[in-house]
């Protein structure tokens, strides 16, 4: 075993890596329900049901045995991966060099009011368990989950958390039942987010019991493999709508984060939007700037899952794309498709690494440059960007 210098607790260390996609889960349904209004408990989690249904419209690798979680992320004290803040801290913060991580719980409900209450419940649980009781080190950040179905209520929920020291962003589903992100339907939500300095992040809310997998224009694939390769076209659709429907013109302070949907598609999409905008300016009087400029100013992408293409080609592609200011490293801990920081760093052009691993997220979320070290943690210098 190699000797690694360990810092003493209570030391401040420099943040080297910000992880912009970590998934916490309540340790039990009962714990989550304890945060819900009493009159809603039976509506959202009906006691008349025999089971809590687990959906599997598509079968990810090994989902039957592992529930799509890393086998080695199961807490030693029991429970599912991602339910124990201390074990997550050990695996991410102590062992993997992550300085600060953004937490993104996954949840949704079919009926709008119920979804609003469910998301609020998650916010109360997250704020209590992860951002307060288990955040003495101050290294967890949270997401304000809101329902895309009821933007007015979402705006109120955002307002409720304004000023919270550890809530870093708003989180909504991209599975918006046929309403693209640029639609004025979302304006109250965007206004509240922008006014309070919260970026709006979006993340596929998994496979739901009521199947909100996007309905593809030409029909859906039968296997997870081809579904997985093509579903980022949902993000492409939303991005094109944000630009062409003028959302960024209506909301100049809005920042949107596309989480876990890849990012290499952004380059061809910027080209296409720019070309069509040039050819059809008259159709878009409300779009004042070149589309790719909106992307550079308003949009961020998290990096997981990274494609395992030839590393030199991949780095060359990223240099061509020139979105070194728009990418933010993420692991997707504790899911099976986790990207390890050491693997990821090597994939990026050297000149982009610091920004992708730390700088862009720090700027977007207003994060500190140093944090309290945890017992047994390596100093930040152990993580090399060269």
């Amino acid at each position: 075993m190699t000797t690694i210098e360990r810092v003493k607790p209570q030391t401040e260390i420099a943040v080297a890596i910000v992880d912009t996609d970590v998934h916490p889960m309540p340790v039990s349904a009962d714990v989550l329900k304890s945060y819900a209004p009493a009159e809603w408990v039976d509506k959202i989690w009906p006691t008349g049901n025999a089971v809590s249904p687990v959906p599997y419209f598509y079968d990810t690798p090994d989902s039957y045995k592992t529930m799509s979680l890393r086998v080695d992320a199961t807490p030693p004290g029991g429970g599912f991966a991602g339910t124990d803040p201390d074990y997550a801290a050990k695996q991410l913060l102590v062992d993997s060099g992550v300085g600060i991580a953004t937490l993104e719980p996954m949840c949704d409900a079919q009926l709008p009011q119920a979804e609003h209450v469910l998301k609020s419940t998650y916010n109360d649980w997250l704020a209590d368990v992860w951002l307060d009781k288990n955040n003495a080190h101050g290294r967890w950040r949270g997401s304000i989950s809101v329902s895309a179905q009821v933007p007015e209520l979402a705006a109120r929920e955002i307002q409720r958390w304004a000023g919270h020291p550890y809530m870093a962003q708003v989180l909504m589903t991209p599975q918006t039942r046929g309403i693209p992100f640029g639609n004025p339907h979302f304006d109250p939500l965007y206004e509240a987010a922008s006014a309070n300095g919260f970026p709006v992040a979006t993340h596929l809310m998994g496979q739901t019991p009521f199947e909100l997998i996007p309905v593809y224009p030409v029909g859906n694939p039968a296997h997870w493999h081809d579904f997985f390769a093509s579903w980022p076209l949902l993000y492409v659709s939303h991005l094109m709508s944000l630009v062409f429907d003028g959302a960024f013109d209506r909301h100049p302070d809005l920042r949107v984060v596309f989480v876990e949907g890849g990012f290499t598609w952004a380059m061809p999409v910027m080209w296409r939007m720019d070309r069509i905008w040039e050819a059809r300016r008259a159709d878009l009087p409300h779009v004042r700037r070149r589309p790719s400029e909106y992307v550079r100013e308003h949009v961020r992408f998290t990096t997981q899952p990274l494609e395992d293409a030839d590393v030199r080609q991949f780095r060359e592609y990223l240099e061509m794309m020139d979105l070194g200011d728009n990418l933010m490293f993420s692991t997707d801990y504790p899911h099976w498709s986790y990207d390890a920081p050491a693997y990821a760093i090597n994939r990026f052009p050297a000149a982009h690494r610091e920004r992708i691993m730390r700088g862009n997220a720090t700027a977007l979320y207003g994060l500190p440059a140093t944090v309290k070290a945890l017992p047994g943690e390596q100093p930040a210098g152990a993580v090399s960007f060269d």
Binding site: P61, D72, W336, Y338
Partner: protein, 119 residues
Amino acid sequence: MLQRRFVCTLDELPPGAMKLVDVGKFGVGVYNVRGSLHAIVNYCSHEGAPLCLGYVGGTNEADPDAPDGLRRTRDGQIVRCPWHNWEFDVTTGCNVADPQRRIRTYQVDVSDGEVYVTA
């Protein structure tokens, strides 16, 4: 530096079992595959996951005559990476999909009912 190391007694490693040996940076997993012994590094060549924590079983191959187009094969010798589910054949160290992707394998021998790995 390669060293012949004691793993366990053969009784402690029946067919289907795996013993993790603390050697090197990541460890080595010694497998009993239907009576023959094999060892692989506990490190996936993709992103460095602890490979030997993965499920060991068989895999599927194409069978055009079957109604679902596939059949089970290579039972007991395929380990699935606990992260991205890459399949590696422990008897060869080769990735099932792309055999050019490999993980390191080690010699295992049995002497007087004792299992040794050279790692």
